[in-house]
């Protein structure tokens, strides 16, 4: 029998350890909380994600499914131990770095441990063996292909050999594939994520959440509850919020309470929080928490929420309409009426969960009249300002110290855990920590908006677009979050990167009793692209035109107006992307024909199809100021410091921004000491969203580099300088004529130290030039768009409806690839998320609140990806660079849907295209014929 608090001894990372613990406690918890083994990550507590993989007597197991007592007398190895003792792990680490196989790094320990177990058994494994060995570890960032490559490389396969392309010692950083600057910590499992940063004495907070989609409630005797539970310090509820019990994103739409007030509007909404000692909180049963629920009828869809007698979720929103956005030009109705060919369709998509492997976590502590919040976030300054209002204190009294972020993709832009622990730490004057469970993370944080889109598009007799209407209804959930942004972005982008003279698009956001829909990679644009790009295929087929050539014929070009009337003179790159795919497209078309002829002969149920889709995306906020500020300085000892406030979610902004800064200054990336992000020490570099960090913060960093170079030139007395060499307390400056002078940083008479500790310091800002849109959505919403086109080859099992992806070719116009390795990483990761959206992902509140019912792609689901980096420079971009982070996802799902139809005739307009839907659509197609 497993009994309580037994002494447990085993060998951990080659050292004997003994610890007193509950025998049935999860090994993952014991390793992290009692033995400080923070390289073991917890993503799901259900064996679904593999982040906590450790070796027990050499076998890979999930530590979250292993009872502590089960390792008695055994040998347990975690990443940090393997790094010290196992040569396979060391070569895997090096290969992961070289290949860019880690982005956020939260899955990296699980990947490296699993891969080590593989190489111990099979030193030179096949690709299939690699997939089989890593199939149990989920990654949401990389798309897995670089992980496969890295393991194959570490396994000695020459074909996968990849050497570091760039060096941090080079003075030319732009265009160089530097390995990520924060990579070493991620490889060693020491990068500190949200649940890795709390002090040992922190109290633990857990949230009491609604089990109902819609209910009224009354809290009972909380004082009695606290009294009945030893070790519980306090219960917090709406009455305890010192400032305003509201938060949100967009002015005018600040509608979400920290704690619900008498009524909950979605399943998982917080009504109270309990704070207490860690051991007590872990075991605390909420079943006896004093709350009385009265369930109410729930409005789960916009259709239900817009009936005549539907209850209104928010007083200011009649008919539950949150807001809508419109863009129109020309006369779309007349254009469609006169069209030679017109196609229409209704398309729908469901909630998509971000499913980053790191659930929300962090801690807060109060010092005097200030409060610090540490944890994972995408938006430090927005968090700071919102928390100040909730606490009723000045923004300067709140400091946000972002931890490493284990994936964000948009959802960590919103406040989630922060208000609870900030209020608790503030009121209790003690450090308080929290880590969301996977279920909480899935229930309570924002999702991609479900969409319902009615679209019509017409062409003239030459195949040119002559009219397009788009009417999209987006389920924004119970609270606004980034809903207004989606409503505004979609009409601008629903045209695709094409020339439309007659266009009208309208998107509305509707409140329902579901989890708030917010920001998710693309802000509604991926949904719109599914409708538009699917109908483009129909138009091309009706016109008997090649589907790629049809898109090229209609592709937007320089000097042509977008649907908002914006004209770019030199940076429209969609044509180059489509042309980049042409040769492969034609080859794939021939290959598919041959495949299908053979399949018919051999009575195989498989049919091959090819699909293509384009995408575009405006970088930065829509018609709103969104500046970034970057500060840099040189200390008296010669240390060059970059205050870099842009939060790296794994995409690599820390590396790219440093490259741009170092390149502009004329030093090597290795010469730069990085600080931040931290609102206490880094100026506001804005949020990490809208594909804006390379573009906006990158520009600020470049300007800071140039300004510092100018300052050094001024100090040297040279008009023009060509070389800067930093050494201890000295800068050697080389003039254009080859002369050298030295700036003595220790010279106190010449150089004073400023308040920040620098003898030389600069601070530069950049804000993209945009203009407000008029009532027809006309204007210049973004300074830069990025462009993309992707093609996919896939096979459909026409008897089972299964889709087997063969390969992708992805052409992306990034203006200038500051770091090609990181560009590829974004493309791979975006495609993986697009695959999930197209084929398997569906968040259903109350039903798929874990990672075994909510499926995301595994290592077996992402086929080889060939990337084509297109560089059509943008005059506003740093060195010509455009954003990329969201573009990478937009064409993927429609390309897959178009290929499924090409292969099998199945028309899928309601996502995801699960096997049952594909098979039903094949039957519909056969009936139609």
């Amino acid at each position: 029998m497993v009994s309580k608090q037994t002494p447990l001894s085993f060998t951990l990372n080659s050292k004997p350890v003994a610890v007193g613990t509950d025998a049935g406690k999860r090994l993952s918890t014991v390793l992290r909380e009692q033995l400080g083994q923070l390289d073991v990550k917890i993503g799901c507590n259900a064996g679904d994600c593999g982040a906590c993989t450790v070796l027990v007597n050499g076998l890979a197991v999930c530590a979250c499914l292993t009872a502590a007592s089960q390792v008695f007398g055994k040998q347990v190895d975690t990443l940090s131990g393997l790094v010290a003792s196992e040569s396979h792990t060391v070569s895997l680490q090096a290969a992961f770095l070289r290949h860019g196989a880690a982005q956020c790094g939260i899955c990296t320990p699980g990947m490296l441990v699993s891969a080590t177990a593989l190489l111990q058994e099979q030193p030179a494994p096949s690709e299939q063996a690699v997939k089989d060995a890593l199939g149990g570890v989920l990654c949401r960032c990389t798309g897995y292909r670089k992980i496969i490559d890295a393991v194959m490389d570490a396994g000695g396969h020459q074909a996968y050999r990849h050497d570091t392309a760039g060096t941090v010692s080079s003075r030319q950083s732009v265009g160089v594939s530097l390995t990520r600057l924060d990579g070493a910590d991620k490889m060693n499992g020491v990068d500190a994520f949200g649940d890795d940063v709390a002090p040992a004495n922190a109290k633990v907070l857990r949230v009491v959440r609604s089990p109902f989609h819609h209910a009224t409630f009354e809290l009972g005797d909380i004082v009695d509850f606290v009294a009945r539970h030893d070790g519980v310090d306090r219960v917090l509820c709406a009455d305890d919020i010192p400032g305003q019990n509201r938060f949100g994103i967009i002015p005018g739409f600040i509608d979400q309470p920290v704690f619900a007030e008498g009524r909950v509007r979605f399943r998982g909404e917080a009504v109270a929080a309990v704070v207490g000692n860690a051991d007590v909180m872990e075991a605390l049963d909420f079943d006896d928490f004093p709350v009385r629920w009265t369930e109410q009828a729930a409005l789960m869809t916009p259709a239900e929420a817009q009936t005549m007698d539907a209850v209104q979720l928010h007083a200011q929103s009649d008919n539950n309409l949150m807001c809508c956005g419109t863009v129109q030009c020309g006369d779309a109705d007349a254009g469609l009426e006169n069209a030679y060919v017109k196609v229409s369709g209704r398309f729908s998509t469901g909630f998509i969960e971000h499913a980053y492997i790191e659930p929300e976590a962090g801690f807060a502590q109060r010092t005097g009249n200030t409060v610090e919040v540490h944890g994972c976030t995408q938006a430090a300054y927005m968090d700071r300002d919102s928390l100040a209002l909730i606490l009723g204190i000045d923004a300067e009294a709140v400091r946000i110290v972002p931890s490493a972020v284990g994936g964000g993709f948009g959802s960590k832009l919103d406040l989630s855990f922060q208000p609870f622990i900030a209020v608790a730490a503030w009121l209790l004057n003690t450090p308080v920590r929290i880590a969301y469970t996977r279920r909480e993370s899935m229930q309570a944080t924002t999702k991609r908006h479900p969409s319902d889109m009615q679209v019509s598009i017409g062409v003239d007799n030459t195949g040119r677009l002559c009219g397009c209407t788009f009417e999209g209804t987006f389920n924004t959930g119970a609270y606004a979050s980034w809903g207004p942004t989606v409503a505004n972005r979609v009409p601008i982008h629903a045209s695709g990167p094409y020339l439309h003279a007659h266009y009208r698009a309208r998107a509305s956001g509707i409140y329902t009793h579901t989890a708030p829909a917010g920001a998710f990679r693309g802000f509604g644009v991926p949904q719109a692209a599914i409708a538009q790009e699917s109908l483009f295929d129909e138009l091309a087929m009706r016109m008997k035109m090649d589907r790629l050539e049809f898109r090229l014929l209609n592709a937007l070009d320089n000097h042509q107006a977008t649907v908002t009337g914006q004209v770019f003179e030199q940076s429209v790159g969609i044509r180059a992307c489509l042309e980049g795919l042409r040769a492969q497209w034609r080859a794939a078309d021939k290959d598919a024909d041959a495949f299908n002829r053979q399949a018919i002969v051999s009575h195989s149920p498989w049919r091959r199809g090819i699909g293509i889709a384009s995408g575009w995306y405006g970088c930065g906020n829509t018609s709103l100021s969104n500046p970034s500020t970057i500060k840099a300085g040189i200390r008296r000892d010669g240390t060059l410091v970059l205050h870099q406030g842009a939060i790296d979610l794994g995409q690599g902004s820390t590396t790219v921004i440093t490259q741009l800064f170092a390149d502009a200054l004329g030093v090597a990336a290795k010469d730069v000491t990085l600080l931040g992000a931290d609102t206490g020490i880094t100026p506001d570099a804005g949020k990490t969203s809208a594909s804006r960090q390379t573009f906006v913060s990158g520009n600020a960093a470049r300007l800071a580099g140039l300004a510092l170079r100018q300052e050094i030139a001024r100090q040297s007395g040279y008009k023009e300088i060509v070389g800067i060499d930093l050494s201890a307390s000295n800068i050697t400056v080389t003039s254009a004529t080859g002369e050298r002078r030295s700036i003595d940083l220790a010279d106190q008479a010449a150089l004073n130290i400023n308040d920040d500790g620098y003898v030389l310091m600069v601070e530069e800002s950049y804000d993209p030039p945009t203009s407000t849109l008029d009532e027809n959505g006309q204007g210049e919403p973004y300074a830069i768009f990025g462009y993309a086109a992707q093609m996919v080859v896939l096979d459909v099992d026409t008897q089972l409806g299964l889709v087997r992806l063969d390969h992708f070719v992805a052409a992306h116009d990034v203006g200038r690839a500051i770091n090609p390795l990181l560009v590829e990483g974004q493309i791979h990761g975006g495609i993986a998320q697009g695959i999930g959206m197209a084929l398997m992902e569906a968040f259903i509140p109350g039903r798929t609140e874990n990672l075994h019912d909510y499926l995301i792609p595994t290592i077996g689901d992402v086929p080889p990806i060939e990337t084509i980096i297109v560089e059509v420079p943008d005059p506003h971009g740093p060195c010509g660079a455009k954003g990329l982070g969201e573009h990478v996802l937009i064409p993927t799902a429609p390309a897959i849907l178009n290929a499924i139809r090409d292969a099998s005739g199945a028309v899928i307009r309601n996502l995801p295209a699960t096997p049952d839907k594909v098979l039903a659509a094949i039957h519909r197609d056969v009936e139609t014929e």
Binding site: V2, S3, L8, N45, T66, M840, D853, A920
Partner: protein
Amino acid sequence: MKKRKARTGCDENVNTLLLEDALATLASGEAVVLAGGTDVYPGLQDRPAPAPMLDISRIAELKGIEKTSDGWKIGAGTSWTELIRADLPAVFDGLKCAARQTGSVQIQNAATVAGNLCNASPAADGVPPLLALNASLSIASARGTRLVSLPGFITAVRQTTLKPDELVTAIVVPEHELNALSVFHKLGSRSYLVISVAMLAVTVVPDCDGRIRDVRIAVGACSPVAQRLPELEAALYDLHLVEDDLSAALQPEHLQCLKPIDDVRGSAAYRLEAVQAMISRSLREVAEKFAEVKRGI
């Protein structure tokens, strides 16, 4: 069986719990049985582990796979990985195929085959292949031992005939003729870590000529408990693996015993249709395997 005090906790003997001690513990009160932990812990949904738990992974008597006079005995402590690595006759190929598709390597290393049966999920990967192998379960308690057939063991969704004081000690697979063949197909919406939409397991015992002398076909995830298809099996009896069109024997009424549901993984209609395709493919695969063996490959 003499009564002994169960050894508890993580003392020096923790690695060697005796079966009789475990049974005594179960006889003295209910305990959650812990083996691989891959169903127990997810089922907790972030609540702390229940006390008491009886960790049977430490019982040496439950380890290993051996050939006995009753057939092959797969100890209840046998993990999927141990099964995959065991040297077993070809008739176990289907079960091994299911093992390789159960969860992930992490799950296969920890989870036990017997635990998969005890969990009694409609989508349990182990049930169809073991039904097709005519497997039974060896069950022990302080009161004695009994052998129960797999269909007699799992009665409904997450329900078995196991009594609170009983423990499954082994899965027993009767010995098959050497030329018996088996295949397994799992249908899911992604690779790895996926709960099955439908599963199909087939065991065929042909005579040396290729005529079907015994056939068992089991379908998973299409009814509360995985089902054999006795009418289809009867229709296939005596057909020739290579010369006859086996698929033609399949009639819609053969599937009437299935009761698939609509859920997030697939519709009921889809499941029924998919099963038919899977049956045809599995029978063709068996025929190909037979032909290969015959050709001496």
